[in-house]
Amino acid sequence: MSTPEPSNTAASAPTAPTAATASSSESSSELRVIEDATCTFCGCVCDDMELTVEGNRITKAKNACVLGKAWFFNHHIEDRPEALIDGEPAGYDAAMDRAAEILLSAKFPLTYGLSDSTSEAQRVAVAITDWIGGIVDTTTSVCHGPSGIAFQGVGEVTCSLGEVKNRADYVIFWGGNPAESHPRHFTKYSLMPKGEFVPRGRKDRTAVLIDVRKTKSAKAADHFLQVKPRRDFELAWALRALAHGLELDESIEETTGIKLEKLHEIMDGMKRAKFGVILFGMGVTMTRGKHLNSEAILALTRDMNQHTRWNAKPMRGHGNVTGADNVVTWSTGYPFGVHLGSGFPRFNPGEFTASDVLARGEADAALIIASDPMSNFSQPARDHLASIPSVVLDPKLTDTARTAAVAFTVSTYGINTGGTVYRMDDVPIPLRPAFESPFKSDLEILRGIESRIRKIQLADVSLDKSDETAAGVA
């Protein structure tokens, strides 16, 4: 196996790193095959990729799904400057100096994004936020943040995808469309694979899809329950009642759009299962009710364990959004939306979450890593973000990077940069990068910013002590 070291060899040229690109091309012009590479596009984090690399491009991606192929084939080295300061090309050193200035002079800075970066970089981002007394929030808050809130309310009876593969004989997909969002989930983990206790694979499993739309995923399911929009909570609560053996009024059919007879059939199947799992998506968390919807599904899962083994797991979108949850949790005690400005961590979704602090016009600077809120946040949040100085790290020139005071061009994690990511079931997986990039990684840029911030802060402390000493002598 030919696996290059993680990229740490960025050029120091202030603008387009032509020399570095040429050097990189020269050293990697031969055709190489990277085995067991990891795709970081979605939360499946498939680690069985076989990549063919020609120069600075991946030309084949064996085992990759349609999304994975698009990910690998479209992340090549772009002819861009190392950084932009107020829209003008700049070198990394000047940009890191300016970034440190911006973040240190802010009173209520926000760190946001992180779901498409390595956990090593995420860790430094949390540290920076701590040093500057800001808020650290991740794309989880607009993804499965409500599920994170629900975990604290009712807990999470859960398992790994390996257990799903080897044991699950009853699989419910709720509020998600894996056929389009996680194309290999069915074949690699949840439906098709033959497992230790499901030796016939798909034939040994019952699959249910619950959604408001009859998506492409419906074809893969044995039962499709077309729930009325915004009725997921009521459906989960109805199933909870049936799990407890309670009678349901027929009005539940009008409420949920699903026949009572069908609900009984599903519950009977759930009770007969040896190992069931509910894999729920953002159809649950993004709809009115949010964390209450997740809580209802988690409570249903808990209740089902009175009968047989049942688990629940959120279907996570971005490649390392689960890593962001893990890193922020083991760093601060909370998974997202954490305020570190009081000298201790405070968690309060709605108060310390990115969408809120931007839409309310509270944050006065932002550090945004691997995310593009300028193209997917609410308009009030976008308007405010455009009005404050921001520091942005992204391999692509996104709308967010275009409005940044400092925009760093960085290498792509998993393709150019090694490190660790967490699969959607909280399993950490190492990356095997395919080819080197002349651009620095998120980790290198964040470390550079952190060291500058600390240098300035420690100098200020020394200065204060000198003043005190001088005053004492006087």
């Binding site: 349609v66 409500p146 993004m286 609410s378 308009q379």
Partner: protein
């Protein structure tokens, strides 16, 4: 629902009345416009995922996140054809996008779908109700032909496009 969208010359005052899913608004030039209420589901699609990697400024991505899918029954009832421009709006914002019929029975009548992105986010409010998550799916919206004059019920701001 059940009444087709149409423009009609009229001068009578219909007040605020309307059926469950539609309402009539008096607008300039004595024209009455039928507005229909729908529930909008923004979501991921395979094409959105692939074109996202090609670039957010590519024609494929922009087309994917800017095309509204409707149930064929709704389109037929509203006398809409694939490619017709429709204006979708709520109390937060508005977008004007082409519509097309959803595949088969993917969407039930009354439901709209658009690929998650810049356009769908313009209909998303800043309030998260203390959750950190704005209402991002299951949005109440009104829909009308984009060629119709602006209604009195529409948000005062111009399209942010």
């Amino acid at each position: 629902m059940g009444v087709g969208l149409s423009l009609a010359e009229a001068s009578i005052d219909l007040g605020d009345g309307g059926c469950e899913n539609c309402s009539l608004a008096t607008i300039s030039r004595d024209v009455i416009v039928m507005q229909e209420s729908f529930i909008l589901i923004p979501g991921r699609t395979s094409r959105q995922g692939t074109t996202l990697n090609e670039g957010k400024s590519t024609a494929g991505y922009i087309e994917e996140i800017s095309t509204l899918q409707m149930a064929a029954e709704d389109m037929q009832r509203l006398e809409l054809e694939d490619g017709d421009l429709v204006r979708v709006y709520n109390d937060v914002g508005e977008i004007t996008v082409p519509c097309k019929a959803a595949r088969g029975d993917e969407l039930p009548p009354g439901l709209l779908f658009i690929s998650y992105g810049d356009q769908s986010s313009r209909l998303m409010g800043g309030d998260t109700h203390g959750s950190g998550m704005p209402d991002s799916k299951g949005l109440d919206v009104f829909l009308e032909l984009a060629t119709a004059p602006t209604t009195t019920a529409a948000p005062s701001s111009e399209s942010p496009e």
